[in-house]
């Protein structure tokens, strides 16, 4: 959606029982009319500068910051241990510590890294041409499967879904063929908002990611 010169992310749907139970849970997403591709030089430079600014003390104190803390709390609320399965921003911080820098992979991954580290907000990308209608979050129904994974999903598993099928586990793996690949020409950049994450942070994260993708 475009409002003047600003690109406003769409609001995804959340199943009513989840809205009542997990207040603050929301999904916002934006369509970007391009595929991943190689990172241009200025994006790689930006990533290198981010590597220089983000060091050990920031990594140690990350879980104190309000937005990473909000995701850690939400992980516990939905049965995940954020020390076994790190939140998206902490996973990037750990990789930075292990590899010595944020390593450039491709334009999409670099854009997601920059936006996630700068904002703390959890971001994910889908192939827009493989998504039916609007995105949302809901519990899985009995008998549902996640494409590419064996067996059925336990009923009640939280998933990101379109109007037809689950596309990914919430904060988990994506269904086969629904993510962004080389041949993707349009992408949906989705932000998962939880209680304690301000709306403005979510909008900024999506805007930042889109800005890097369009650079």
């Amino acid at each position: 959606m475009v409002l003047g010169d600003e690109v406003v992310p769409e609001a995804g749907w959340v199943a009513p029982e989840l809205r009542r139970e997990l207040a603050g849970l929301a999904l916002r997403y934006l369509l970007v009319e391009r595929g991943p591709g190689r990172s241009p030089k200025r994006v790689r430079e930006r990533l290198a500068q981010l590597s220089d600014r983000f060091s050990g003390p920031q990594a140690i104190n990350l879980r104190h910051r309000s937005i990473p803390h909000a995701y850690r709390v939400f992980f516990r609320h939905i049965g995940l241990d954020p020390d076994e399965q790190p939140t998206p921003v902490e996973a990037l911080a750990l990789e930075r510590m292990r590899r010595g820098a944020f390593v450039s992979r491709n334009l999409l991954d670099d854009a997601l890294t920059i936006a996630t580290i700068e904002s703390g907000v959890a971001l994910q990308a889908f192939d827009a041409d493989r998504v039916a209608d609007r995105l949302g979050i809901r519990p899985s129904a009995p008998g549902e499967v996640l494409e590419g994974r064996p067996g059925e999903l336990p009923p009640g598993t939280l998933v990101i879904a379109d109007e037809k099928r689950p596309l990914a586990l919430l904060f988990g793996p994506m269904a086969a063929g629904r993510g962004v690949e080389r041949a993707t020409s349009r992408m949906l950049i989705a932000a998962i908002q939880v209680a304690g994450v301000p709306d403005i942070a979510v909008e900024e994260a999506i805007w930042l990611c889109a800005q890097v993708l369009r650079s």
Partner: protein, 173 residues
């Protein structure tokens, strides 16, 4: 007569307290447990930051099989596990602080009176510092120092030289 009393109550606007529906009270209980979990997570995060650079302290609590909406019993288990982990971490940190304090006192004694602690060795990690430094009491001039009881404290930085390939920089300085 009873009807008259009920009618009077209604006219007076007396509020009749009804017991909470079971579903509402269960949801309230889950919300309260989630608040408790959030508080414990904040305390654990604070302890984690203050424990750095000490290693070997267990911070994991264990997953409860998510991602899904947890029931009251499961939320209680998460809360109890967080509280137990917090208590264990605090106890371990207190034990390490006491040990580090003892080592710091020993280090001061070594520096002041090295001859009382021949070949004693204390690392930076043992006194809670993040560096690789090591303090060691060594004799001056080798065997001569041993015989003459001349000792000194030698400080070594300890860190090996940086080696291996750094990640390639995308631009030249």
């Amino acid at each position: 007569m009873a009807e008259q009393i009920a009618e009077d109550r209604e006219r007076a606007g007396a509020a009749v307290a009804l017991p909470a529906a079971p579903r509402d009270s269960a949801r309230a209980a889950r919300a309260d447990l989630r608040r408790q979990i959030a508080r414990l997570e904040a305390q654990l995060a604070e302890l984690f930051a203050s424990a750095f650079p000490r290693r070997g302290i267990e911070w994991r609590v264990g997953a409860a099989g998510g991602p899904r909406v947890l029931g009251i019993a499961e939320l209680e288990r998460v809360r109890d596990a967080l509280a137990a982990r917090l208590a264990e971490a605090r106890a371990e940190l207190a034990r390490r602080h006491a040990e580090e304090e003892r080592k710091r006192a020993l280090l001061e004694e070594m520096i002041a009176f090295p001859e009382r602690h021949p070949f004693a060795r204390i690392t930076a990690a043992e006194i809670g510092q993040p560096s690789c430094a090591t303090w060691e009491v060594r004799p001056r001039w080798g065997p001569v120092g041993v015989l003459a009881n001349w000792w000194r404290v030698k400080l070594s930085s300890g860190c090996p030289l940086a080696s291996g390939r750094l990640p390639s920089r995308p631009y030249a300085h």
